[in-house]
């Protein structure tokens, strides 16, 4: 099995308080804590387990810049065999379709049986996997929480649907799947693992290397563009209780009594 996993470095929503930058056109990115998109870790773990069982290789790829090399190394420390960084100023401002087109060009340079993405990333769109599949004319299933290899050509996948039910499908390889959290238990990556891959060569490919014409890529080619960010007012809806913990507990108890909670 040759497996490609598309990954992304994202601001960690649980670790950061987001503020706008002074110009108001972006979030303040200084001092943000970044990590690998949560869903991608499950995708990489799934790929590693499949290759452990069946043989083959796992390649991780990201579209980004030099800062993003760190997540390729992290996933390689987890057990991915190769990393590839797709970086070019022309890629900046790409929408989902633009990103999928860049990834498609990289996939065309390899020979993959299976392509995985996370179900969604920081933008919450959940779009790149499905777009990539359509561009490659390959079958697709999203929100996959179970993969079973039936034979060299067919796999059985479970998709998570509403209410926690699972939709079972059979799909022909090669195909593209987006992976949902909970499918496995992503392994822990220690400092030692990271150190081991610190010096591994990670190829960096530009638009030209991928045979892509920079004109019409990135923001210029995007049909959907983010115009600005805004942060809703803190406590927009809630009455924020203030004071010492003791005072807060007392006020809360009164409110719970009044609302059927005690």
């Amino acid at each position: 099995m040759e497996i490609l996993v598309c990954i992304k470095r994202v601001p960690d929503a649980a670790e950061n308080e987001f503020e706008l930058n002074p110009a108001g056109n972006d979030i303040n990115r200084e001092d943000l804590v970044y990590s690998v998109n949560e869903w991608d870790n499950y995708a990489v773990e799934e790929a590693i387990q499949m290759v452990d069982d069946l043989g083959g290789r796992v390649t991780v790829v990201t579209v980004g810049d030099d800062d993003d090399e760190e997540i390729l190394r992290r996933e390689m420390a987890m057990g991915a065999d190769n990393g590839v960084l797709l970086a070019d100023d022309a890629f900046k401002g790409s929408d989902g379709q633009g990103l999928a087109a860049i990834l498609k060009a990289e996939i065309g340079q390899g020979d993959y049986d299976l392509i995985l993405t996370g179900a969604q990333a920081d933008e919450g769109a959940g779009q790149v996997g499905g777009m990539l599949a359509a561009m490659l004319d390959l079958p697709y299933a999203s929100l996959v929480n179970k993969i079973e290899i039936l034979d060299g050509k067919t796999i059985r996948v479970g998709r998570e649907i509403e209410g926690g039910s699972q939709e079972i499908n059979e799909i022909q390889l090669p195909c593209v799947l987006s992976i949902q959290t909970g499918i496995n238990d992503p392994r822990y990556v220690g400092i030692r693992g990271i150190r081991k891959v610190a010096k591994v060569d990670i190829p960096k490919k530009s638009a030209a290397d991928l045979g892509l014409d920079p004109a019409g890529m990135g923001e210029a080619g995007a049909k959907t563009r983010r115009v600005d960010y805004f942060v809703p007012d803190a406590g927009g809806g809630a009455e924020m209780l203030e004071g010492s913990t003791e005072e807060i507990v007392e006020t809360l108890i009164e409110k719970l009594k009044a609302n059927g909670g005690l």
């Binding site: 994202v10 929503a13 649980a14 950061n16 929408d95 989902g96 379709q97 999928a100 919450g124 959940g126 779009q127 499905g130 777009m131 599949a133 359509a134 079958p139 697709y140 299933a141 999203s142 998709r159 998570e160 649907i161 509403e162 209410g163 926690g164 039910s165 699972q166 939709e167 079972i168 499908n169 059979e170 799909i171 195909c175 959290t181 909970g182 049909k223 959907t224 563009r225 983010r226 115009v227 805004f230 942060v231 809703p232 803190a234 406590g235 927009g236 809806g237 809630a238 009455e239 924020m240 209780l241 913990t245 003791e246 809360l252 108890i253 719970l256 609302n259 059927g260 909670g261 005690l262």
Partner: protein
């Protein structure tokens, strides 16, 4: 003139709630546009839903085909491509079906894609200004969508006001003859229903719900104590189930349980829409979170900026003292 299509999923013979929400979204996209409901399926269930929808939509486009008896996204996409005009705007719910189908359709239509729209703020020329959220709801953004070659959009369920049924007297257009071959390399096998657990969280009036802020499996005991003191049960957000700290049957949200308690204590939960999508019936929501910008504070009744690991034991103790 723009033509807006709204894809209506249905189950057991009745249309998804979003059928009543799309008209408000369409109105905001282009008040002058005609809105056509699209239903695909097979047999009498489909006919029933199509007829029901004529009370909401002036036109209902129906595709009846054996291959569509289960909504396999790859097959539905193929059918839609045969009947939609090249520059159509088509809406799907941003749910597990919409996420499966819509991105690929946008590529095949060579149209713009806009995901998880929560609001629309007007159109300038052919550019539509939409509102969406990122980072689990922590920040909002405006996104400009170029409609000139059509667009595929997913609409967040519950984000647009539902309209009243029985406002239209529409007609059904049968497009079944136009779809031709509908085979795909992805074959639907079956749906496996979720397992039920030891505790039914949907039956409790009081839920102490823990999220990733609980940090460690052992700390769940604190929530158990608080729930016991309050006479409720413990539920959780998804990461707790993913970590295998609690059973799936305790998960609140769109891919978990829908609950309707009187009081919902959100402890260390950020408040993503997939989580809050499972909290119905307007409960009294108390959110305890150490991040003042947590989106849960937008929807909670009462917000408390504290560390749950310190706050929960204090609260439990005080309640026990009171009743003790």
């Amino acid at each position: 003139m723009t033509q807006i299509f709204a894809y209506i999923p249905f189950k057991n013979g009745s249309a998804d709630d979003i059928a009543l929400e799309y008209p408000s979204a369409a109105e905001k996209i282009d008040a002058g546009a005609g809105v056509t409901a699209v239903v695909t399926g097979a047999g009498p269930d489909l006919d029933g839903v199509a007829n029901e929808l004529t009370q909401v939509y002036s036109q209902v486009l129906k595709i009846d085909h054996g291959a569509l008896s289960y909504p396999n996204a790859e097959i539905v996409r193929k059918a839609l491509l045969k009947v939609l005009p090249a520059d159509a705007i088509i809406l799907f719910p941003h749910d597990t079906f919409g996420m499966d189908l819509a991105p690929g359709l946008s590529v095949k239509m060579d149209a713009a894609y806009a995901a998880d729209i929560v609001d629309v703020e007007g159109i300038e020329g052919t550019t539509l200004k939409t509102v969406r959220q990122e980072l689990g709801g922590a920040v909002s953004t405006h996104a400009a969508v170029d409609l000139s070659a059509g667009a595929v959009m997913t609409v967040r369920p519950g984000a647009f006001a539902p309209v009243d049924a029985a406002t239209a007297q529409g007609c059904v257009m049968d497009k079944s003859a136009e779809v031709g071959d509908l085979t795909a390399p992805r074959k639907f096998i079956e749906v496996v229903e979720a397992e039920t657990g030891d505790v039914d969280i949907t039956k409790s009036d009081i839920l102490v719900s823990v999220g990733r802020g609980i940090e460690d499996e052992e700390n769940i005991e604190m929530a158990e104590e608080l729930a016991a003191a309050m006479g409720g049960v413990v539920s959780c957000s998804r990461p707790i189930v993913d970590a295998k700290w609690m059973e799936k049957s305790r998960q609140v949200g769109t891919s978990g349980q829908t609950v309707k308690p009187k009081v919902y204590m959100a402890m260390g939960i950020s408040g993503s829409f997939q989580h809050m999508g499972g909290v119905k019936g307007n409960p009294f929501i108390v959110a305890v979170n150490k991040n003042p910008k947590a989106p849960i504070f937008q929807v909670a009744e009462v917000g408390i900026l504290e560390d749950i690991l310190e706050f929960m034991p204090e609260l439990s103790e005080k309640i026990e003292e009171m009743s003790g």
